[in-house]
């Protein structure tokens, strides 16, 4: 799991991606893959759909998409 650029807002930091972030990242990556983007890992044969490949990439920690987090504050 990617942990690199996450956190950093004191008590508000969360070490892993939230379920919402994960959904968006995989969704966006799956769209890229379905439109022909090069896949960044060796993908096992049994994975068929772009979503499965994106999920596999995400779990391997090579997904090139991350999130930008803003410190909590005024909305």
């Amino acid at each position: 799991m990617q942990t690199a650029e996450l956190g950093g807002f004191g008590i508000f930091s969360v070490r892993k991606y939230t379920k919402f972030e994960k959904a968006r990242i995989i969704g966006a990556r799956a769209l890229q893959i379905s439109m022909g983007a090069p896949v960044l890992v060796e993908v096992p044969k049994h994975l068929k759909s772009s979503v499965e490949i994106a999920l596999y990439e995400f779990e391997k920690g090579v997904c090139p998409i991350t999130v930008l987090r803003e410190p909590p504050g005024e909305s």
């Binding site: 379920k19 919402f20 968006r24 090579v62 090139p64 998409i65 991350t66 999130v67 930008l68 909590p72």
Partner: protein, 393 residues
């Protein structure tokens, strides 16, 4: 196999402080110590348990982006449909008038200045709380007695333009008052121009010049407070566990706290505005939480306290208690569109345009109106592509 000592358990568990709520730490410590007596806990097992607790706590936290407000609204709203719509009178302990169920919940959320049934629970300090008679004496002092409570008869003597009050002897004795004391209070209240004569238990008041003035005087005299605390109309002394507690109908928190023998730490009122004024906003927040959850619990509805805390937080963040509704939380939203969607659409839009207000379109309502994804859950995530190969490694 040898287990770890109780001291090790204690010190290891206490390292969790700050990461996990104190209540969880305490419970874990208690359970581990108990289990440790029955069978040995190895150092490895202890660590595994502590890790598991940490993990369980982290995974139970609400994730950023979760629509907590909506969930809170639903969690209070659904049980709310099962509450009584009726206001009960003289229900519950000691025949005091209490508002229950939905009417009370609405009252709390509206933060009315005077709740329809104000109540105080007055706790007493040791010598008074242990003794029934001493508690009674304080209750006597608290209960408001007006002229109306004492008179058996009140006549308006039209011939001499006088008021004739007949005081009831038994009630005078009960309230520990004498006709001369009543006279004293009355002349202080009515001013030196009014002449009052005492004839045994009868009081003759000379003052009025015209008939209408006499009537006004009669009405005024009835309401004059002779003793007690203003607004406290009924007092009940009840034994609760080991101590005597006074319940009052009508609330005057400031005056009660000044009284001798009253436990200032525990005495409370159900009038949240009063608590806000006297004890401050944090106390008001606690009172809101306590009142809301007890109202729900009385109806047999269990709502998680975190939902209620969120509501109380929204009502108190601005430093004063705001109602949920037009003059509070909903009516003071920073977004024009959100306010317009709530009520009186045209007025809000017109006034905003006159003032040249700006709308950042960052709320849920505004986003829906303008056809954008809402900034909650997956909609609150901002994606970025990570750069070249070197950064990925």
């Amino acid at each position: 196999m040898t287990g770890v000592s109780p001291e090790t358990i204690r010190s290891e568990v206490r390292k969790l402080r700050g990461e996990v709520p104190d209540s969880v730490v305490e419970e874990l410590e208690r359970t581990l110590l108990r289990v440790g007596k029955e069978r040995a806990i190895t150092a490895e097992a202890l660590q595994r348990v502590i890790e598991a607790v940490k993990e369980a706590h982290l995974s139970s936290l609400v994730e950023p982006g979760e629509a907590v407000g909506t969930v809170a609204a639903q969690s209070i709203g659904e049980p709310g449909t099962q509450m009584t719509l009726r206001t009960f009178h003289y229900a519950g302990v000691a025949e005091l008038n209490v508002t229950l169920g939905l009417p009370r919940l609405i009252e709390i959320l509206d933060t009315r200045r005077t709740p329809s049934a104000a109540l105080m629970t007055v706790y007493l300090e040791p010598p008074y709380s242990k003794d029934k008679d001493k508690a009674r004496a304080i209750a006597q002092e608290i209960e408001m007695t007006t002229v109306e409570d004492l008179i058996s008869e009140m006549e308006t003597d039209l011939m001499n333009m006088q008021l004739l009050l007949s005081l009831s002897r038994s009630r005078l004795r009960q309230k520990e008052l004498t006709p001369s004391k009543v006279k004293e209070v009355l002349s202080r209240e009515l001013g030196p121009k009014v002449e009052i004569n005492v004839e045994e238990t009868k009081l003759r008041i000379k003052a009025a010049e015209s008939l209408s003035e006499l009537r006004r005087l009669a009405a005024r005299v009835r309401k004059i407070k002779l003793k007690g605390v203003k607004d406290v109309t009924k007092v009940v002394v009840k034994k609760e566990g080991e101590e005597w507690v006074i319940y009052t109908e009508g609330s005057n928190f400031a005056e009660i706290l000044k009284m001798k023998g009253v436990d200032k730490k525990r005495t409370t009122t159900n009038n949240i505005r009063e608590i806000e004024e006297i004890l401050g906003i944090e106390a008001a927040r606690n009172a809101l939480i306590r009142e809301m959850s007890s109202t729900l619990r009385e109806q047999g509805l269990e709502v998680d306290i975190r939902h209620i805390m969120l509501v109380a937080d929204m009502m108190t963040v601005k430093g004063e208690v705001r109602q949920i509704g037009r003059h509070g939380v909903s009516g003071e939203k920073s977004s024009v569109l959100a306010r317009a969607a709530f009520e009186i659409t045209l007025k809000h839009l017109l006034e905003a345009s006159l003032r040249g207000e700006e709308d950042r379109l960052r709320g849920v309502t505004e986003s829906i109106i303008t056809g954008n994804p809402i900034p909650l859950g997956t909609g609150s995530v901002r994606l970025v592509m990570q750069g070249g190969r070197s950064e990925r490694e």
